[in-house]
């Protein structure tokens, strides 16, 4: 009997001393394939963390289980929402900074202030990106990447229109200096349609679904989205009218097709990247997406893209005006449901290193978040990153507010109504103002 007790005690001790494995779950999204490093870099950082834990003789190791969403933001956000509300949330979620307002108000994510000071790697993050993840004075996330949204132009099509190579190469600078505006784009677009260089409606395309890009027009029109004093959302009727006017004109002049909204993304990417559209607003990441997923993939990849496309800021609305772009930084957030918050932040401190930052930026055509990354030789010699970097000086952001979803949905319905010809721009502005007034009351300032 005594013997058995001895065996039992030894077994118990052994199991206690045996190494524990702590599993951290992380949900990430592209949706483009090229951004898969948002998940794989976490796995690499976990391997690094385990080597450190081994050196520290810690009694546990870390295992990271990642998921990478490729379908779309709508699905991903719904999945997150259901996970938060059923108490099944993972430890880490990656999402856009604009979601922080809703998730923080709902108590689904935690502020990271108490942990962030412990790790030196975080000091290297570009300060403006910390502001993008700060809500009510607290930092709720660790920046993951940032980007800009260029206006792509098709070089062979411009050449067919009679542009010299010097003129084509000078277009980004002309836009930057406010010499080439939306009015010029409409003029060139109409010419391209008249001369048969592109099909009617294929001279300019914006994204085919709801999303942040549209606020570039609103900002270019001088609009404000949030009152910095009160934190309330702002609807500037003049800027909204200017934006709807511009989008309406793009359709009426035959520059942009009426059939754009509702087009499947795959058709959009294939049509633009195969060279059928003269100008298109998209993201820096689209560059990598085209090279790895769509038409360009089988037609020469990056070489084809460099031959075919140039990129610039989104033009100003009037001569001498300011061109813009918009950034939607991504961030890793730590959920309130996580039982290993401290460990999660420690993992994030390791993924926030120039080598991973550079790998992600180079592979996915997003912009790095660390100052050191920009001086790495491989980043300095990357033609694309170096050519788009200046756009960050012209960038704008979306506001962080729990009401932003209601606002953005209402404005998008207006866009859809104006482009489909359902409403005049004045009627659309009135309806959006009325709709937001009814839904948000005094939480929105209508000017």
């Amino acid at each position: 009997m005594k013997g058995w007790i001895g065996v039992f005690v030894v077994a118990l001790l052994a199991s206690g001393l045996a190494q524990q494995t702590v599993t951290l779950q992380a949900w990430t999204i592209g949706p483009e394939d090229a951004s898969r490093t948002r998940a794989t870099n976490l796995v690499k950082a976990a391997e690094e963390l385990n080597r450190i834990l081994e050196a520290e003789k810690a009694p546990y190791r870390v295992r990271v289980e990642t998921s990478f969403e490729t379908t779309g933001w709508d699905n991903y956000r719904r999945r997150l929402l259901l996970a938060f509300q059923s108490g099944q949330a993972p430890d880490i979620v990656q999402t856009t900074h604009a979601d922080i307002g809703v998730y923080a108000e709902g108590g689904y994510i935690v502020p990271l202030e108490e942990y962030l000071g412990r790790y030196r790697t975080f000091q290297d993050v570009i300060p403006a990106l910390w502001s993008a993840v700060t809500y009510r004075g607290k930092r709720y996330g660790v920046p993951q990447d940032t980007e800009a949204r260029p206006l792509y132009f098709n070089k062979p099509l411009l050449a067919k229109l009679g542009w010299s190579s010097g003129q084509i190469a000078g277009l980004p600078q002309a836009i930057r200096e406010g010499r080439f505006t939306w009015e010029d784009l409409i003029r060139v677009g109409q010419e391209a349609v008249q001369k048969g260089v592109v099909q009617p409606g294929y001279a300019y395309w914006h994204r085919p679904v709801n999303g942040p890009d549209f606020y570039q027009f609103y900002y270019a029109c001088g609009g404000t989205l949030q009152n910095p004093q009160t934190g309330k959302l702002v609807l500037d009727r003049t800027a909204l009218g200017c934006m709807y006017g511009l989008l309406g004109r793009l359709v009426q002049t035959g520059v942009m097709t009426r059939n754009l909204l509702g087009m499947p993304w795959a058709n959009w990417h294939n049509t633009v990247s195969s060279g059928q559209v003269l100008f298109a607003s998209a993201g820096t990441w689209t560059w990598a997406q085209w090279a790895t997923q769509y038409y360009a993939k089988d037609h020469g990849g990056y070489d084809y893209l460099w031959r075919t496309f140039g990129f610039a800021l989104q033009p100003a609305v009037r001569p001498g005006g300011k061109p813009v772009t918009l950034s939607q930084p991504q961030a890793y957030l730590v959920t309130a449901a996580s039982r290993n918050k401290e460990l999660a932040v420690r993992l994030l401190s390791l993924v926030t290193q120039p080598k991973y930052d550079a790998e992600h930026a180079l592979g996915s055509a997003h912009l790095p978040i660390l100052r050191t990354t920009y001086v790495l030789p491989e980043v300095r010699s990357d033609r694309f990153l170096q050519s788009v970097r200046y756009k960050l000086d012209y960038t704008t952001y979306q506001p962080m507010s729990p009401d932003w979803g209601v606002y953005a949905d209402a404005v998008f319905r207006g866009i859809s109504a104006v482009e489909s010809g359902q409403l005049s721009l004045e009627a659309a502005v009135d309806l959006v103002a009325k709709d937001l007034g009814a839904k948000l009351g005094d939480r929105v300032e209508v000017r």
């Binding site: 719904r78 809703v102 059939n259 509702g262 953005a408 319905r413």
Partner: protein, 297 residues
């Protein structure tokens, strides 16, 4: 007492199911509709009384959405019942094997998964060089965006028509052949036979199909969600149930408002009840359930 026990035994299981899956959800929906439950307030919802209902009254788009709902139900219902009737009558006239094959063809939309079914529609309607319709007609437009109502009614109708078709075909088969012979002897042609023999005998299945489809159309929105998502523009094809779904589960930046969505759903429950009672009265349901005055063996 024994009689009561037997009744309980027979009604019990169905009663429990009705309680769990019909009455309880209605009660929960009503309860939710009186709170401000949303993504933001999920852990601390507050009781807000009728505030959600008042907010709905202030919504400038509600009359439009209500109109859309009536339009959707009326048009799709008309398509479903009339097309179902037409299919049942025409396939009954065909030789049996051919009729069965034709009916099986019409069942395809119903047994195809909605997402796949809508993907096929999108494939047909896309702009050049992708769409089938634009290759046939030579007109490159996104047909779903250009004619959203036609797409919504037809996509739903092709699924719904088979329901009436099956029930009506079975009912036509059940009509005693003597009646057709008698009609023929009296000199009735095809039109007169259908009008004076078949249609009167189909009254009960028509009532059932109309009632059932009205109620299911009132609450169905999945094909609209997938086809147009309520657009294009300001709620062009947004119906009541879809709007409730949008409020409760889906907006681009994820602050879902469950309380407000529940208020819309609660109103839909009441409308559904009212419509059911109206139909029962309209079709003289009591008369249909009466014990026949003459018993025929």
């Amino acid at each position: 007492m024994r009689g009561f026990g037997v009744r309980l035994l027979f009604l019990g299981p169905a009663g429990v199911l009705a309680l769990l899956f019909f009455l309880l959800p209605v009660a929960l929906t009503l309860l939710l509709s009186l709170t401000d439950l949303s993504t933001v307030t999920f852990s601390r919802p507050r009781f807000v009384g009728l505030a959600n209902y008042l907010e709905l009254l202030r919504d400038p788009f509600l009359p439009l959405i209500l109109g859309n709902t009536l339009k959707y139900v009326a048009l799709t219902l008309a398509f479903n019942v009339l097309m179902g009737l037409f299919l049942a009558l025409s396939t009954s006239l065909l030789p049996e094997r051919l009729g069965d094959a034709f009916r099986a063809l019409w069942l395809l939309p119903r047994i195809t998964a909605p997402v796949v079914y809508v993907l096929i529609w999108q494939g047909i309607a896309a702009v050049a060089p992708y769409g089938l319709l634009n290759q046939v007609t030579g007109v490159s437009v996104n047909w779903i965006q250009q004619h959203p109502w036609v797409a919504v009614v037809l996509a739903n109708g092709f699924v719904g028509a088979s329901f009436g078709m099956l029930l009506f075909s079975a009912a036509i088969k059940a009509i005693p052949p003597e009646l057709f012979r008698a009609a023929a002897v009296d000199g009735a042609g095809l039109g007169a036979t259908v009008r004076h023999v078949v249609l009167p005998l189909l009254r009960w299945p028509i009532l059932f199909v109309t009632t059932y489809q009205t109620l299911s159309l009132l609450t169905s929105f999945e094909y609209i969600l997938l086809l147009t998502d309520g657009g294009p523009g300001f709620h062009t094809t947004e119906v009541w149930a879809l709007h409730a779904y949008h409020l409760a589960f889906s907006n681009y930046y994820g602050n879902a408002r469950f309380g407000l969505g529940a208020a819309m759903a609660a109103i839909l429950v009441l409308v559904g009840l009212w419509v059911s009672l109206l139909y029962l009265r309209l079709f003289n349901f009591r008369c249909l359930l009466e014990v026949p005055r003459i018993e025929v063996d």
